[in-house]
Subunit: 238 residues, 2 copies
């Protein structure tokens, strides 16, 4: 009887290929099967980060997530992906599922994990998340000492956003995209507009853009973007 | 005239040597000068993570942080460290300052950054943070979809902890240490004790320990520990 394969949920970080971990590199180059989320048209972002590490001969499983559904990606997509991956695991082949950032930080890996972790060994390899990568690129120390940090996705309602921002020392608003104007207005209203920074596609060669929020202007804001709000004018010096 | 050296604040992740990034590896093995925080007695944790990558001949600058001061580490320690590092940068040598986890996520790197970033090029290399590493080890998806995540250090007052926990979907309480009993009592009082997990020294070989908080018992809790509270009994399935 063949030993079962292991499923690895592997974080590939914010975008720069050299911001993956040594463990991720070893697993990605060694695994016979690589799965990744992909849009219905165009390239998979997760795959693009590690494209140069994928030697010919690997089996690839794109998990195609329809972008324009009225509700969240259909359960059937993940059911099918889990079945496809399970077939390899049953045959004893390890599978690496690539995830932008970190698999358990707003990652789609968890929907496959939910379906397979009772039957197979599933290991998660944590990755560098985009809030920390954005802070690094901006040269903006994020939190120190006893600071409270809150991460809140932009699609939350105004009241939620407002309450979270007011209660934290630093707030990272993720997935800004089409919510940008609403959040800018809200930060103006809270007198925090001048204490916010904007970051998009950080560490991705040729695509990275960051600025004080005050300089954003009419820029088109993509989904992979965030606003970092620092309530304190300056942190305690040491 | 010699070109100035660059200061790199390099995150070395939660503890496992193979959870540093490829960029960190390249910079650490290549830099002529390595600095790191160190206790007054015993080994530097940050240095220990990458000890096998430090070839002889590197200059090492331990930044000795007194552990038992009544206030936060003395400014003089960082003034001196900044001076020592500046001397190398002025001579054109690059310096890598190692940081557990990520330099801008409760890291001491930022105190050196504050002192030198106006005079020298300072680049920050983000790293894997311990909350994500703990979630990975626990097999606990942290946040998905529009979940709100809050990170709050344990030394904050009860009222602050309570308000933050009540407002977030998931709360990571950092630096638990001697605050463990107080936080356990608080979570009991909030009826969230059974929805919490405990993690210490994750990914460190032979030292890692995780469990449901209910199983913690009288265990001695170190500084490098955290409690993860999930308010929802289960997240939305897909």
């Amino acid at each position: 009887m063949t030993a079962l394969g292991t499923l690895y949920g592997v974080g590939v970080g914010p975008g720069a290929p050299d911001l993956i971990t040594l463990r991720a590199f070893r697993l990605i180059t060694g695994a016979p099967v690589i799965a990744y989320p992909a849009p219905d048209t165009g390239e998979s972002f997760a795959r693009s980060i590690v494209a140069d590490m994928l030697h010919p001969g690997k089996v690839e499983i794109p998990i195609v997530i329809p972008m324009r559904t009225t509700r969240y990606p259909a359960a059937e997509v993940y059911d099918q992906a889990a079945d496809d991956i399970a077939a390899h695991l049953l045959d004893g082949r390890n599978v690496v599922l690539l995830c932008e950032g970190d698999p358990f930080f707003y990652g789609s890996y968890m929907y496959v994990h939910d379906r397979l972790s009772a039957r197979f060994t599933c290991e998660v390899v944590p990755g560098v998340t985009s809030p920390l990568a954005s802070a690094a690129v901006l040269g903006l120390p994020l939190v120190s000492r006893n600071d409270v940090l809150t991460v809140v996705p932009a699609p939350n309602e105004d009241d939620t956003l407002r309450a979270q921002i007011a209660a934290a020392d630093v707030t990272v608003i993720m997935k800004v995209g089409r919510h940008a104007k609403r959040i800018v207005a809200l930060l103006h209203d809270m007198a925090l507009f001048d204490r916010a920074h904007y970051a998009e596609r950080v560490t991705i060669d040729g695509a990275e853009f960051t600025c004080p929020l005050a300089d954003l202007g009419d820029r088109e804001v993509p989904y992979f973007s965030m606003i970092i709000v620092q309530r304190k004018t300056q942190r305690d010096e040491i």
